[in-house]
Homo-oligomer: 218 residues x 2
């Protein structure tokens, strides 16, 4: 890839996203951006701060992130990162239906699409994963895969790549899929350097997934 | 511990904190708070949003977090969580000197103090680690430990506990120290459940640290 123009990253948010789904991979990109040009746009259905507060758990701790763009005025993007989280289950909320519509609209113009956790469920609902291999959160696997039978869902995988779509398993797997993607695009040495800075023991094999068995998946 | 009154968590922030230092352990607490009462106060030297932007890297990606309190009007706390990050090296900035003063002031009233990465350097500078065992980021070990020779710095450790002070190694080690602390306070089963929800392979031995050797430490 060229180092001359920044790669334009988009982060899709909805209320009730999981904090580590976002900040694991985003911190990989923060570190990458010290040496490689990147831009980050944070997209949601409105410009209101987006809270991690899960539905129906009013006393849970939560943090909020401020979007930079709405789906309606999103800039051109090269890469879209989609986290999961309990809020994704509000399937008929405007936040989720507009996110699904945006994914369907923007996917053809992307170079890469990367999902963490149940985020792949949104991409599946957009029809973009039909006929493709993909994975998702293992604890929520039965529920999320039930949203779209046309996807070739893979139970035992830390992450799966099919074409330009990278889907990962739950929460912390987002760090591994992002490091794998960085290794693919920028080189393995760059990914290794970021993992070492984070003192993170990267799962380097996308098939290495003890959580499938833990959650009783074949 | 009693489940009757919430444990009051404080998160100390300064400009140039490392995102995963915060959101790894905080997401453990977010999940814990679905079943156990917690409160979270976010503290900084002013109420301005606090950016992860590192010093001297104007093009780096960054995200901002909005404090809920200043050091001057901090509520009573049971636990203080202190991240690290490149911003900590602005040793004479008001953000850092006021953080060090706050740590020195508040420590005697805390039940527990937990640090991630170079965050232990702030606690060391406050004098609170004198005569105690502690660890820090391994890539920055020589620099940070040089700030306070009165500390018994431990090079090979994912995390170290001395009394009520839990210090961890770099970035992702914050997840492990928080899970270890949750295991100690709420029980190992609670910590294991959170790690499984995060699909995270917890480092369960605080002495298990390949990064000390990677960075040439004894």
């Amino acid at each position: 890839m060229s180092n001359e123009s920044p790669l334009r990253i988009g982060l899709l948010l909805f209320p009730g996203f999981q904090a580590l789904d976002v900040f694991g991979p985003i911190d990989c990109l923060n570190i990458l951006s010290r040496t490689h040009p990147l831009t980050l746009s944070i997209l949601s259905h409105t410009l209101d701060p987006v809270s991690t507060k899960p539905p129906l758990t009013p006393t849970a701790l939560a943090q909020s992130v401020v979007p930079t763009h709405t789906f309606a005025n999103a800039p051109e993007l090269d890469v879209l990162l989609i986290p999961g989280g309990l809020g994704i289950r509000l399937l008929h909320s405007e936040a989720i239906t507009s996110a699904v519509d945006f994914i369907r609209y923007v996917y053809p113009s992307l170079k890469h699409l990367i999902t963490v956790c149940t985020g792949s469920g949104l991409v599946a609902r957009a029809g973009v994963l039909d006929g493709r291999r993909a994975t998702t959160n293992k604890r929520a696997f039965v529920e999320v895969t039930g949203w779209r039978g046309e996807v070739d869902w893979v139970a035992r995988a830390r992450w799966v790549v099919d074409g330009n779509i990278w889907t990962s398993s739950g929460v912390s797997a987002g760090i591994d899929v992002m490091l794998a993607w960085i290794g693919n695009v920028y080189g393995e040495g760059v990914a290794k350097e970021i993992a070492d800075i984070m003192e993170y023991r990267q799962v380097e094999d996308g098939g290495d997934d003890p959580f499938a068995e833990l959650y009783g998946l074949r």
